[in-house]
């Protein structure tokens, strides 16, 4: 393993160990997801709307708001004792730091998104059948793009004196492609349509995620430099 990968890995390991010990973010995101599921259940009149038509949208919206809650705090953990400065003064390339933070946040968000899928499936009585695997894949691809954008802009908003209030203003316009492709694809899959029908859109979702990761890796160094 070369130094670059080892640096990425040790940061991912550190973030996940911290999360496992404090359970700070996963607990708030998980609780948010379940409670959102309960509230959404009461906000929908199931006599006029079929749950499988709206479930996908609700799942993605829960992911976005919950993800903003958790992933948006990713640099607060670092800032507590100035640890981010310590990492920045080490020979770690800034893109390695970005990729590592993105990877750790991705693991976190993906766990939550599978929880959301399970909870909403239960609450709305969804039967995914053979499409379950594809939905799990689509959630993963969408979560990757989301996490890359939010990690980059979490670093931006943490550096401003507006803090987290700025984050949604910055990322929501940029997240539109993810919402449209994610919700569109998931709705069709939930309704039992074959994967072939949505494959092009999943590709677009993937391209979006890759572009977000690449842009973040290049631009992150300009955000964290002092």
């Amino acid at each position: 393993m070369n130094t670059y990968l080892r640096q990425v890995w040790v940061i991912v390991w550190k973030d996940l160990v911290l999360e496992m010990r404090s359970r700070e973010r996963i607990a708030s995101m998980g609780a948010f997801a379940v409670l959102a599921g309960v509230l959404f259940n009461f906000s929908i009149d199931t006599t006029s709307t079929r749950p499988q038509d709206v479930a996908a949208g609700l799942i993605w919206m829960t992911l976005i708001f919950g993800g903003l809650l958790g992933v948006g705090r990713t640099f607060h953990l670092e800032a507590q004792d100035g640890a981010l400065q310590g990492v920045l003064m080490s020979p770690t390339p800034k893109d390695a730091l970005f990729l590592a933070k993105t990877a750790a946040n991705f693991v976190l968000l993906y766990v939550v998104s599978l929880l959301v899928l399970g909870v909403f499936g239960l609450f709305f009585g969804l039967d995914l059948g053979p499409n379950l695997g594809w939905v799990v894949l689509v959630l993963g691809v969408g979560a990757l793009g989301f996490v890359a954008l939010v990690t980059l802009f979490a670093a931006v908003s943490t550096g401003t004196n507006m803090g987290e209030t700025l984050l949604p203003v910055l990322v929501f316009p940029l997240l539109v492609p993810m919402v449209i492709y994610g919700v569109g694809t998931t709705t069709r899959l939930i309704n039992g349509r074959p994967f072939d029908e949505v494959e092009g859109n999943v590709r677009m979702l993937g391209a979006f995620a890759l572009a977000a990761v690449a842009a973040g890796a290049v631009l992150f160094r300009y955000v964290v430099e002092d």
């Binding site: 640096q7 550190k14 640890a83 003064m89 020979p91 430099e225």
Partner: protein, 262 residues
């Protein structure tokens, strides 16, 4: 220089000292030229030049807001100067390269530690970031040196402030940097931690490392330094060798410099 400082002291340029030392066969380690840092309309550091050779220990005193931390940030390569350059062993600190960080260690009043990681894990984390290969031998030795060997498996948040600061010292020196930068390291230390810090700093100086410390603490600042500087409004208002000036005398001189009477 017993009663105050000779009038010539402030004209004694750092470069002259450095050149003299370099002639004695000591290599120039840290070099800063025309360092300047602006925050919009505020000028925090205004044209600082500095040349330091092996074994030199510079203490920079100055009131709050004199730009001491910004100066240290730029010397450490973490902060981009508005103008000017910093070189460590002849290599310019560049934002796109990642091979000069091995030469610099930074100890601040903030620990750069993760409270939820254990003592050992914190060092292992930084050691891996620095690409150190011999962590298994290095960690126990370093922990023993700062007196934390039996606390290795404690989470950092369970430690007292003094113990954290000792761990932070071990972290800053883990990769054996040539240049050690200290930002108010004595803030809030208990006597035993201050003792460890003092003895480690003494070793650094005698081990021909180059140390720059910024502090308000006149006593600790004077104890170790071979050179002194007083920074006021971003500039070195006075600098000179530490030639055994008593604390009371230096304190008087310091206030004269800060209030612009010298």
């Amino acid at each position: 220089m017993t009663d105050g400082v000779s009038p010539g002291a402030d004209t004694l340029g750092v470069k002259d000292v450095a050149r003299g030392s370099a002639d004695n066969g000591r290599e120039i380690v840290l070099e800063a030229n025309g360092l300047r840092r602006e925050y919009g309309p505020v000028v925090a550091v205004d044209g600082v030049d500095l040349t330091m050779v092996e074994g030199e220990f510079l203490t920079v005193f100055g009131p709050n807001g004199a730009g001491k931390s910004s100066l240290l940030g730029m010397l450490g390569g973490g902060m981009r100067p508005t103008a000017g350059t910093v070189r460590v062993r002849g290599q310019a600190l560049s934002f796109s390269e990642h091979d000069w960080q091995h030469r610099i260690g930074m100890l601040s009043h903030r620990g750069f530690l993760y409270g939820r990681l254990t003592v050992e894990e914190n060092l292992r984390f930084y050691g891996t970031l620095f690409g150190l290969q011999d962590l298994e031998e290095r960690l126990p030795a370093r922990l023993a040196r700062v007196g934390l060997a039996e606390r290795a498996r404690f989470e950092v948040r369970q430690l007292s402030h003094g113990m954290r600061q000792r761990l932070s010292l071990a972290r800053a020196l883990l990769h054996d940097p040539d240049v050690v930068l200290l930002d108010e390291p004595y803030t809030g230390l208990d006597p035993s931690a201050a003792g460890v810090l003092r003895s480690v700093l003494g070793e650094l100086r005698d081990g021909r490392r180059t140390v720059v410390m910024v502090t308000h603490n006149l006593r600790e600042g004077l104890a170790m330094a071979t050179r002194l500087a007083v920074q006021v409004s971003g500039r070195f208002a006075w600098e000179g060798p530490n030639d055994g000036l008593g604390r009371e005398d230096f304190e008087r001189h310091y206030h004269d410099v800060v209030e612009g009477r010298v």
